[in-house]
Assembly symmetry: C2
Homo-oligomer: 238 residues x 2
């Protein structure tokens, strides 16, 4: 059923506009399977790449990044997780990434032996993994084919709820302007490591977007998008 549902119904779109939790169904499902919820400070490591894989984790609240390091220290952030996303599953004995919180976070921990036993849990996992794989496919397009400006524009657009992409609900017709205030939870270095850029390139693109009047940087972590549609046009998706 889940796979056959239309992605976004008109009703859902109107509910989302009101700020309803879109992922509530998935979140509720995993909480049924018990496990303890651990609280982590910002920039706490949940596990390191190479650690024994013993638990399935679900991000309940906050933000977590998964990254991999090359032996010479180059880092690639491979996933930036949102509430409802899962991590820690491994097809080997070890975790393939390091998991580090970006903000104070709540993380549910379920023993992998329980994951093996519960078939209902497996159903929820398939759904989560399918969703995360779609995001990974989009990220491969960004890393492999998009310019620096397109990457930064895509990253910023990704933080605007329900705008950009196939599910875009368009500008709010009742509002005077098509603007949005963003709160960033990643440093410039983390953003660079996620977008496959250098920190200098990220800073240069941000300055460029500022000079062109597309964004306004209020603080390092507060960015005002002057025109969401204009920024969206720069993502390479139009």
């Amino acid at each position: 059923m889940a796979y056959l549902d239309a992605a976004v119904t008109a009703q859902e779109r109107s509910a989302r506009r009101g700020g309803a939790p879109v992922r509530a169904a998935v979140e509720a499902s995993l909480s049924e399977f018990g496990g303890k919820v651990a609280h982590h400070e910002a920039h706490a490591v949940v596990y390191y790449e190479g650690d024994p894989a013993r638990r399935l984790y679900e991000l309940v609240k906050g933000s977590v990044m998964l990254y991999k390091l090359l032996p010479d220290g180059r880092r690639q952030v491979v996933e930036v997780l949102r509430p409802g996303d899962i991590f820690g599953l491994s097809d080997g004995a070890e975790n393939d990434c390091t998991a580090e919180t970006l903000t104070a976070s709540e993380v549910r921990e379920i023993d992998l032996r329980q994951v093996e036993r519960s078939e209902e849990l497996q159903r929820v996992l398939t759904k989560c993994l399918t969703n995360q794989m779609r995001v990974l496919h989009e990220h491969a397009v960004l890393l492999g084919r998009k310019s620096a400006v397109e990457r930064v524009a895509s990253f910023l657009m990704h933080l605007v709820p329900d705008r950009g992409g196939a599910g875009c609900i368009g500008p709010d017709e009742d509002a005077d302007e098509d603007s949005y205030d963003l709160q960033l939870h990643m440093t410039r270095q983390e953003i660079a490591d996620y977008l496959g850029l250098t920190i200098e390139t990220v800073s240069r693109v941000v300055s460029d977007l500022k000079r062109r009047g597309v964004i306004r940087v209020d603080k390092a972590d507060k960015i005002h998008l002057n025109k969401v549609c204009t920024l969206c046009q720069m993502t390479g998706m139009h």
Copy 2:
């Protein structure tokens, strides 16, 4: 259980050296769930990005690539599938990629409604998806952080069974030399689209590896690796 197994046991390593089918367990599991097996010629499209998602597919034999297009025609190959891999699962109503065969292939098709019903099938899917997500994470590192030479070296090494990476069994001590004959199933353009490079860059790197004596190009699709370990040292993983 599956998640807690060690990635490669000594026994498996020795079996692999003999060419035993490593993914046999997964393949056998999916065949239990019925569905018909369709035969496709090389370069046949199984489904297009945006097509309604109605079936789960399992690659039984051959090779399939998944790719996404940007509106201006730029293409990124996001996955190159091997027997035992699955595709076609979607968290929306549509397929997020185009699936095209690279060689003549056999593909099992299972209706997504059956996938929803069978909890045992879900267990197999979780395992497949976990494995494919690990590959997607590695690919993000390649696209985001590796040089052109490192990308091509990684791509070639990926085609040498059981060499490179954590599961490397090292050179065969009984053999005189550490060489390997590769049969490529992808054109230079497909390789470029998978590695996030231009076709010119792929050709330049291949010529460079040839000039340095690391490889010998027998035909466009036949490459002899003169020293596997030397090529592996160029993947950025050492």
